[in-house]
Amino acid sequence: MAIMSFIFVFFFFSSLQPILSLYEDQVGLMDWHQQYIGKVKQAVFHTHKTGRKRVVASTEQNIIATLDLRSGEIFWRHVLGPNDVVDGIDIALGKYVITLSSGGSILRAWNLPDGQMVWESSLHGPKHSKSLLLTTNLIIEKDNSLIVFSNGRLNAVSCIDGEVLWKKDFEEESLEVQQVIQPPGSDFIYVVGFAASSQFETYKINAKNGELLKHESTAFSGRFSGEVSLVSSETVAALDSTGSILLTISFHNGKISSQQTPVSNLLEDSLGLAVIIHSSVTGIFAIKTDAATIFIRVIGEGKLEVVEKTNHETVVSDALTISEGQQAFALVQHAGSNIHLTVKPAHDWDSNLLKESIKMDQQRGFVHKVFINNYIRTDRSHGFRALIVMEDHSLLLLQQGAIVWSREDGLASIIDVTTSELPVEKAGVSVAKVELNLFEWLKGHVLKLKGTLMLATPEDIAAIQYMRLKSSEKSKMTRDHNGFRKLLIALTRAGKLFALHTGDGRIVWSHLLQSLHKSESCRQPIGLNLHQWQVPHHHALDENPSVLVVGRCGPSSDALGVLSLVDSYTGKEFSSLRLVHSVAQVIPLPYTDSTEQRLHLLIDADKHAHLYPKTPEAIDIFQSEFSNVYWYSVDDDNGIIKGYALKTKCSGNVADEFCFDSRELWSIVLPSESEKIITTATRKLNEAVHTQAKLIADQDVMYKYISSNLLFVATVAPKASGEIGSVTPEESWLVVYLIDTVTGRVLHRMTHHGSQGPVQAVLSENWVVYHYFNLRAHRYEMSVIEIYDQSRADNKDVWKLVVGNHNLTSPVSSYSRAEVITKSQSYFFTHSLKAIAVTLTVKGITSKQLLIGTIGDQVLALDKRFLDPRRSVNPTQAEREEGIIPLTDSLPIIPQSYITHSLRVEGLQSIITVAAKLESTTLVFAHGLDLFFTHYAPSRTYDSLTEDFSYALLLITIVALVAAIFVTWILSQRKELQDRWR
């Protein structure tokens, strides 16, 4: 019997097939993927042709995308390089999207339907200048042409193949070209600009061949400031640098005539700091000051008239030609929770073509940009649709007084992410979705069984797939046993906080933070990071968890800080603080008060420590741990790493008992002529380590050196801190350090000669893995360093353990001088890296895998066993049994272990791992422009049945077994009866 059960168990385990990756029909079960484009900078509509209506947009994240005008979905999208900033976009010939980028030096044409690049041309010129793109209907040598002004050179480029037809240089040093104008129907081009900021220059150029027809200039007594606004095809308006004189300059037929109008004639008060808004509406231009937007009309020969002065936040669109000789433009104004969209004809300010009031979510902030497009209604009147870009970077299409669609493009620029648990399911609290009843449950499983037995019809398969994807289980708003359902809380660059459900990625709530809102006292607020402020679990279960948002008023590190506390369940900002000190570092302390609020130490630029929350209880807790608080700072520019401890209460300040002075404990000064800090890495604070001991092949034990105060620092030669290929291997090196941040002791130092950055590193348990470029081999390399505690190594003797003569129970402390040994090994790796992370499980028992964000924006899972310094070319039998893989010079890339499977997380920035409650599983969230979330089990889900486990098959087996028992029983009875009769 025992043998039987053994055989059975053996069969059971041998039949488990190693499945690490996905089947194609499992896509979308555990993972979700969202695509964004970022904050739209410029948008061009394409609605003339029949077929899909589109809008082409360029964004601040250097993306070119076309969106479906009906739904806002992305048709295609291209992410340009980080330095390839888009200067202008347009549609040419009705089928090409033209983009000018990289400071006007790259002109590309993309096929509108599918996004295939058609041609690319590189434009150069004598000097840097403004870049202007102008599509014309000009036909030069049978080709439709584009006029591009960039880098001080005017180019005419063929639309068909991107060939430069002619070029004309404007080499004059002080000339700043402001506009390139082609009067409609003419075959010449005006290039207008300022020379030495006080001379107005016009060039009239033959559009057919680039020949200079006429050049005129007039001097102006003052100085011009900023932009010019085009009032008509032969008139521009400009503002002088004092903001007191408005100029209208007309250059009809190349003859310049200008009119100066003092602003005081038009307005009672002076303008102060004002800028002309660049717009293209005929006859009207706008000036924006701090308080107001002023619209001014040009009547006749240089006569000006103020038509409207608005004190609200007002945004104006470019002009849109709606019919022959008629232009319209849109204005968007805020009024309470509504926005007013007005479309006016350019020639008549007082009449409106359209006036709509739309209720707008307050959490979207102000309108930043508006683009309009028209369509012909069935009654032949003009209808208008407007695309608006909001303060939170979202994009909305308005039509007929309603929001047709909206895109949350703020999620394309996430700064920091944290997670929060969902509420516990309570009796009586109704859960959003009704549970499936037993019959449906069974039906589902019968369907599934049919699927496994290949008996399912195509409809059945579709039903199965739908059922799996739309399982109500995963998107519930309550906590689950496995800890898969959580809220991902993300802070975006626009200062908005989003909570995403891990089940399906939907936005649960979003909140535009008040503390990160632009105001008089805080002109340039930026969000820094997010921390878990309150994670109630024991005695404060009734409280909602909350997160702390840390920001500062300006880019420099000594700008004043701002704090916000936000409820994780509702998204309410219940506290918003403006600090009187700066924030250089935030240290979450491992102590919580009676309401489970975590104590945080904020270090300011002067190295004072400020304790939050500011309660007497917090200070009591903190006093008892006062001498155990250490921290460090890394100064990249000067190459100094310093360690600090707390000293006393702040001396200078007026009785601030939450402020503490610090003292410097140690410092490591790296020689600035040979080393420059490029990367640091530390262990995650919440990482659990299951065991300190590591059993190795020959019944030996090694003790991992596990310290939460380990810091990895990588430095390179200052010369080699640039791009790849800029140095020779001889003058480039990479030095890595492992430093204990309490004592400042360098535990390990290693030099890689002939290597350079960028370095991506991850530190976990007792090892660090880092990625860098090897110049000699001209390949990327990954290295691993493992660090072991030698002082415990002599605990192997069993007798010592029995007698009690061992030091295993002594605490690991940074005070004791540990004897450590390190092991290290390097391997080649094919790809460049964008991010690296390691899987994180709740108890740390499951073996680890590295999650590697490759240059192709995919996330690759790589078993840590491939980065084991004990790998050798010919491992012994014992080592093989332990799981040591024979050494190879490069790390394998197995396509099935891409956890993003066939998706790309465009613009990948970081990979975040969160432990689920189930030990085998880690939750992975990768973000960049796109968001991707999945569950990942590094050693397979050994502690739960897989999703495709067939309950129906189990049921059938049990029934079959019971039937077999009865059959054999009957048979045996019959046989016995026969035996007795015999």
């Binding site: 194609e24 390089g81 690049m117 058609v118 041609w119 150069h124 192709g856 995919q858």
Partner: protein, 202 residues
């Protein structure tokens, strides 16, 4: 894992890509990415999203990014002399990074090598080393796989016990059988028949 399919080259090279110098210290790198047509799409039962328009060519770890023209050609402009690394990112294909030396002394000289296998390239034509299959292939249904599953094994084992054991017992010598039964009874090991309610009668 999908077998590495031999690559077919349908297009022949017409012009040699080159490094042309634009100005004193800036050069252009021109090259071509060739993805064999007819593979990938449709042959595996699903379409690989590796369309030409989604292919990116990256220089020096993403410092410059460029895209392919319909014929597969790409170019980087204004590149300083030195050694560079070109990577191709295409979903569904594995490309080796390419080391490219742009020489300042003799412009136009081509020096390119695949870093994965150190193979030199006479022209900058990049081809995928292999296709990448991101999904496990589901095995088609077969009786064997059903039998191999834990449930199948369980049923199979039970059947074997139920039908083969009596056969074994039958072939035994009745004397031996009785002795074995005696032994078993004395050891208190219950037989199958005694376990069942009907078996208790004897």
């Amino acid at each position: 894992m999908a077998a590495v399919t031999p690559l077919l080259l349908l297009l022949l090279l017409s012009s040699a890509p080159s490094f042309s110098s634009e100005s004193r210290n800036a050069y252009n790198i021109n090259g071509r990415v060739k993805i064999p047509q007819g593979l990938g799409l449709g042959t595996k039962g699903y379409a690989l999203p590796g369309r030409m328009s989604n292919v990116k060519v990256l220089l020096n770890g993403g410092q410059n990014i460029t895209f392919l023209r319909p014929d597969g050609y790409f170019s980087f402009h204004n590149i300083p002399a030195g050694t560079h690394l070109i990577e191709v990112s295409a979903i569904g294909y594995f490309f080796s990074p390419v080391r490219v030396d742009v020489s300042a002394r003799n412009p136009g000289k081509v020096q390119a090598a695949l870093t994965e296998n150190r193979k030199g390239l006479s022209e900058l034509v990049l081809e995928p080393l292999r296709e990448e299959q991101y999904y496990e292939i589901r095995e088609p249904f077969s009786i064997m796989s059903l039998l191999k599953s834990p449930m199948g094994l369980m049923v199979g084992f039970m059947l074997a016990v139920a039908f083969l054991m009596p056969k074994l017992v039958e072939n035994m010598d009745p004397e031996e059988m009785r002795r074995a039964q005696e032994e078993m009874r004395s050891q208190g090991v219950p037989s199958l028949s005694s376990l069942l309610p009907g078996g208790a009668m004897n």
